[in-house]
Amino acid sequence: MARFLARFRKPTAGVDADALIKEAGKLMPEQSRRAFLRGGASLGALTMLTGCDIIDEESAEGALRYVSRFNDRVQAFLFNPNRLAPTFTDADITRPFPFNAYYDLDEAPTVDPATYKFEISGLADNKKPWTLDELHALPEVSQITRHVCVEGWSAIGSWQGAVLSDFLKRIGADTRARYLHFKCAEGYTETIDMPTALHPQTQMSFKYDNKILPRAYGFPMKIRIPTKLGFKQPKYVVAMEVTNTDKGGYWSNQGYNWFSGL
């Protein structure tokens, strides 16, 4: 558990300095979007091997981002809207299921269920905000699937909630739109493609392991997408926009591949 807690910490006052120094070096993206190629270490090995500094870092980054966008298209092509992620049994569930974020658990947002509203905007007929009681009254489905983190580890978890595609129909969303953009209580954002949003296992999760979603796992709502990497699945969701504009996301803006499909 401590291993998972230590991941993706952001330097904040009051955080354990030792753990920070240990983790920051290898995992922390720098403040700047383009920092992942800056500093020489990235190309250092290549420069050393080729014996000359033939690769300009700016153009290398441009080329890498270009290939990453090409990989988005390849993955969209490979994505089969009817292909279900493998499901597991109760006995397979990873216990405890890891908490994972770029901040510590005690910094995770606390959402007040009494005043919570799920805001809808963009290309939808009915943009009435939803209270938590209304969301909990939606027909419930359950899944036990594998969560895969961009870091490589995986864990099997159990989520309950509403099928996102049913909800989109219910609010009269234009499902010919290209994206759904989510906003979260702590400022996290994420954009997903419509085919993934309409996948039968893509879920607005209100429960984890049949209990109301704890704060660690994204209370009051997580978008559970078993066909995507973990960072594409927003927690603490407060707003959704149906849009044709790719508004990016917290991690993909910093260099993680945008589509990140499994």
Binding site: G25, K26, F36, L46, V67, R83, P86, S154, G255, L262
Partner: protein, 207 residues
């Protein structure tokens, strides 16, 4: 030099030890595999399978996000170049001619010769049995690292493939083991190229 020792299947006009396509594929592959290994080590560091991590100085990509960009860019170079190499190797008959036949008796004899420093490298156009086994082996490991990589990248779309490896987590270990095998091969391969410099020259100039 090589003319009188040429094997059946060669024509008199083929004086080169390595045709152009072999050399081009070899060096493109060399660059791609180094980027794949260097960035792969950085990806590994984000969630190590074992109790060690790779020193950052020998990794590529600065952080996980950068390493993944390198890894998923170089994979296209590695795979496309690999397909060209394997296709030409099969179609041209080079694989059949250079890597086969190879039997256990010849391998044991050549290992003995190598250990007693009697294994000759006079004729670079002819691979000894140990070389044959290593080159066949590394081609098979290359296939394994690509297939296990695919099963980690797409454990839903290619779930049958992932299941073949015993699931997502097991496929990560297979991918790592294949990397380790390639690194071990590279240590031997590069050491021998430096011990027998004319073999390095042959892979550059063809002769």
């Amino acid at each position: 030099m090589t003319a009188q020792t040429m094997q059946a299947g060669y024509t008199a006009t083929e004086k080169k030890i390595h045709p152009g396509w072999v050399r081009v594929c070899h060096w493109i592959n060399a660059l791609a595999i180094l980027v794949m290994i260097g960035s792969g080590w950085q990806v590994y560091n984000a969630s190590p399978l074992f109790s060690f991590t790779f020193p950052r100085a020998i990794t590529i990509g600065e952080w996980l996000g950068g390493a993944l960009l390198w890894h998923f860019a170089a994979m296209w170079v590695l795979v496309i170049n690999g397909l060209v190499y394997v296709t030409l190797g099969l179609v041209s008959g080079r694989f059949r001619r250079k890597l086969f036949p190879v039997g256990p008796r010849a391998v044991i004899a050549d290992i003995k010769a190598a250990l007693t420093f009697k294994l000759s490298h006079d004729d670079l156009s002819h691979y000894n049995a140990v070389q044959k086994v290593l080159y066949i082996g590394i081609i098979l490991v290359a296939v394994l690292i690509v297939v296990s990589g695919l099963s980690i990248w797409k454990p839903v779309q290619f779930q049958e493939l992932t299941a073949l490896f015993g699931g997502y987590d097991a496929a990560r270990y297979v991918h790592f083991a294949a990397m380790a095998a390639i690194v071990a091969f590279l240590v031997v391969h590069i050491s021998l190229a430096l011990i027998v410099p004319k073999s390095l020259r042959a892979m550059i100039t063809g002769r």
